[in-house]
Amino acid sequence: MAPKPKIRELLDESACTHNKTKKAACNAPTPGATTGGCAFEGAQISLFPYADAAHLVHGPITCLGASWETRATRTSYPGRDLTQMGFTTGISTNDVVFGGEQKLLDSIAYIVEHYAPEAVFVYATCVTALIGDDLDAVCKAAKQKYGIPVVPVHAPGFVGSKNLGSRLGGEAALAHLVGTKEPEVSTPFDINLIGEYNVTGDMWQYTPLLEELGIRVLSTLSGDGRVASIRTAHRARLNVIVCAKSLISLTRKMEEKYGIPSISLSFYGKRDTSNGLRAIAEALGDADLVARTNALIEREEARLEEKLRPYRELFKGKKAVLNTGGNKTWSIASALQDLGIEVVATAVKKATESDREKAREYLGENGVLMMDPGSEQAKIIDATGAHLLLAGGRSLYTAIKKRISFIDVNQEKKKSYGGYDGLLNLAEDLKNALENPVFKTVAKRAPWEK
């Protein structure tokens, strides 16, 4: 069995631009001034989308009770979607005192008997890591007994952030699944999609295009993923990281071990989608494929342009302020620009160094990168005459006060903004926001305040 990944080693991961500037500080949240999830949540995000695997959370109820059925990751798996189920050992005082290993073993047995999953992922959490339950031993025993992969995931919350946890989740898949099975057939155009979770079906916006080009998605980590296919991931020709810097360490290790090169891209907005498709084709290094890809891009862009035409007039001259975090700081900006909307400012407070660099690139010299969006955004709206604020719910009042339209970008979305067609969804939502009188109506003074 593979040893537990070393936390320090992961933190010093050379491929992470975030870390170049901030070294180990990535791992030290400030008490009383921390937002954001724990490593366990990150691991959950990176592995939960395997709908044919059971995900068993070994810990007290906090970890799973509030987190199951939270993410709209979609799957085409015809069996029961285990992603949308919650399994937890829900340990009690007794387990804390006497150890929870037996309970864990019994729980795995129960799951195998009742749900017959392709694999079981077992997640350590703070309490079970602290009391020293030997996940590796339990998983090994269960694997032998039931003949399916039983994967220990060592990302208890206290080891760090969501990002670190996503890495640890990826590491677990690499250590226990990748390379344990051979694909039935191989093609020269086999790729793995890494870090695409198919939230709201984002991935299905572009996978039909890949298919049309003859590019085969051999496996994913983990959107619409299957255990059987991630086990064959070592035979891919290319790893494609979709908007997930935290998984760079994983692809670097796959390159070292299996010689699979990797590229990193995003499928958000028209330009990024086109660039992404082109980058995949070029990386696969086939001249004919590149030519076909360019033709497809041309066709798709023309088709999209046609459909966007009714929106263009409405969006002309419109300005937007964007207040979000992570890669959304630039990916949504890019999509807005594709729609002809000027992005006058974007918040970079919660963005990594490389996200900031990208934001600067997309917004140009005149765009404002807000370090303190809470206090800056109202002023910028005044100064630029912005028409739209895209932010989290907390900023709604700013929009009301400024009487401009508002879109909650942090709300769990129900529809996809990814790929070419996702841009149409975004355009429709923006149109609806701009035409909605509610922001002005609710801003009216009450009769007794006049």
Binding site: T30, T34, Y397
Partner: protein, 433 residues
């Protein structure tokens, strides 16, 4: 009363409805004005809680974490992370109170939060709420008890007009408000502890968002012990009521297992009449009782042919089941998140401490399920009617204004349940055509 099964029949929880103690404590602290709930544990617990509450109430939620790491988990006994957290919180905001509550992690390593709290020179209430014990309801109740023990000043005075209401965790903001107004109608000045009715009721205001806004004030809490009457609602609140009575044994206390439906509301009115010496309640109360009677008759035909499963926190479970049963609903299955003295009183054929997998395994027994939004998948799978109640409900908006209590809320609830049952039957018949 039917069979009560308290011991889980399997080693794990599958599709749990249970939520954690620290989350309940957080919610209690959010019912105090300008409070900062501080969860002592790994950062994820607070993050999950924040997202959870934000999505349920559609409101910004104030919460902070001591962000215990692998390093502090071993080296720190809470001294560093708690003190540091308070330092950082007060740098940016000026809370009236810090609500320190634990999770399983610091409890496992044995942090002495009482000892740490004693060294902190800032208004603070501390409470032990390990998440490997109890659940949402007990976490809320423990926090309220701690708030009372640590803040309320003992008194020998009595203000006959003043009444303290101790609501259980599942009462939504509007329900707390309705209870306050109902009791105020009898001439009382009502203070609810905690009071979500003015903090998480969903109102448009210029919110800072960094602290809770609205709710009962710390000053009001300190001065609660001169109230003539204490009303506790939900068996989980008995401990808190007892703690309050210790601050002034002269206070009179009335307890209600729940305040849903005709009989329970009648019991409350009877008490209030006896306490005030009034002959009659306010006219609107009389009117609403008649409306509820009518609602019961209007809905009884539908409810009487419907078999229900209800899944909820024990105190809410008791109320929902009573309300359905007295109008003829056949409650076949009641699933509680955790054990509680309430369970033996619930008018259901089978009461069990369990999860939604249990509800799924017994799906032949009922037609309509009342439960949190996780029950939606189950209802969909097996073509059951669904009435969404309890935490969390992320699929619908307006949770904070859903009112099921007293005569008024009871009427609305029965209408909703009966309408869902009818729609379900219509859909099934349609399917068969």
């Amino acid at each position: 009363m039917g069979e009560v099964i308290r011991k889980p029949i399997k080693p794990l929880q599958v599709n749990p409805i249970k939520l954690s103690q620290p989350m309940g404590a957080t919610l209690a602290f959010l019912g105090i004005d300008k409070c900062m709930p501080l969860m002592h544990g790994g950062q994820g617990c607070a993050s999950f809680t924040k997202v959870f509450m934000t999505r349920h109430f559609s409101e910004p939620i104030a919460i902070q974490t001591t962000a215990v790491t692998d390093v502090t988990a071993i080296l720190d006994g809470g001294d560093y992370s708690i003190v540091e957290a308070i330092k950082n919180i007060t740098k940016k905001a000026s809370p009236s109170l810090i609500g320190l509550h634990t999770t399983g992690l610091p409890e496992t390593k044995g942090d002495d939060i009482r000892g740490v709290a004693a060294k902190i020179d800032f208004p603070l209430v501390h409470v032990n709420t390990p998440d490997y014990e109890g659940g949402l309801e007990s976490g809320w109740a423990l926090a309220v008890k701690a708030i009372i023990e640590q803040l309320v000043e003992a008194s020998e005075e009595l203000d006959g007009n003043k009444l303290v209401l101790l609501p259980h965790v599942s009462l939504q903001p509007i329900e707390v408000e309705k209870l306050k107004e109902f009791i105020a109608g009898f001439g009382f000045e009502v203070l609810a502890l905690p009071d979500l009715s003015t903090s998480l009721d969903g109102y448009l205001g210029e919110k800072q968002g960094s602290l809770s806004g609205g709710g009962i004030s710390v000053e009001q809490i300190r001065a609660l012990a001169d109230a003539g009457l204490v009303l506790s609602v939900g068996d989980s609140m008995l401990g808190a009521a007892k703690a309050l009575l210790e601050k002034n044994p002269a206070m009179r206390h009335h307890h209600f297992a729940h305040l849903s439906g005709l009989e329970a509301t009648d019991a409350l009115v009877e008490r209030l009449l006896a306490e005030t010496g009034f002959q009659k309640p306010p006219a609107s109360v009389i009117r609403w009782r008649k409306r509820l009677q009518d609602a019961m008759l209007d809905s009884h035909f539908s409810l009487g042919q419907t078999r229900f499963a209800v899944a909820a926190e024990p105190d809410q479970l008791a109320g929902v089941c009573a309300s359905l049963r007295e109008a003829g609903g056949r409650v076949r299955l009641a699933i509680a998140t955790v054990d509680s003295p309430q369970l033996v009183k619930i008018p259901a054929e089978k009461v069990l401490v369990g999860d939604l997998e249990d509800a799924e395994n017994l799906q032949d027994d009922y037609d309509l399920i009342v439960g949190n939004f996780h029950a939606e998948a189950l209802a969909h799978r097996f073509h059951k009617g669904l009435v969404v109640r309890g935490f969390p409900n992320w699929e619908q908006i307006g949770n904070q204004l859903k009112n099921d209590v007293l005569y008024e809320g009871g009427a609305y609830f029965l209408f909703e349940a009966a309408n869902v049952a009818e729609a379900m039957r219509a859909a099934t018949h349609h399917g068969r055509d």
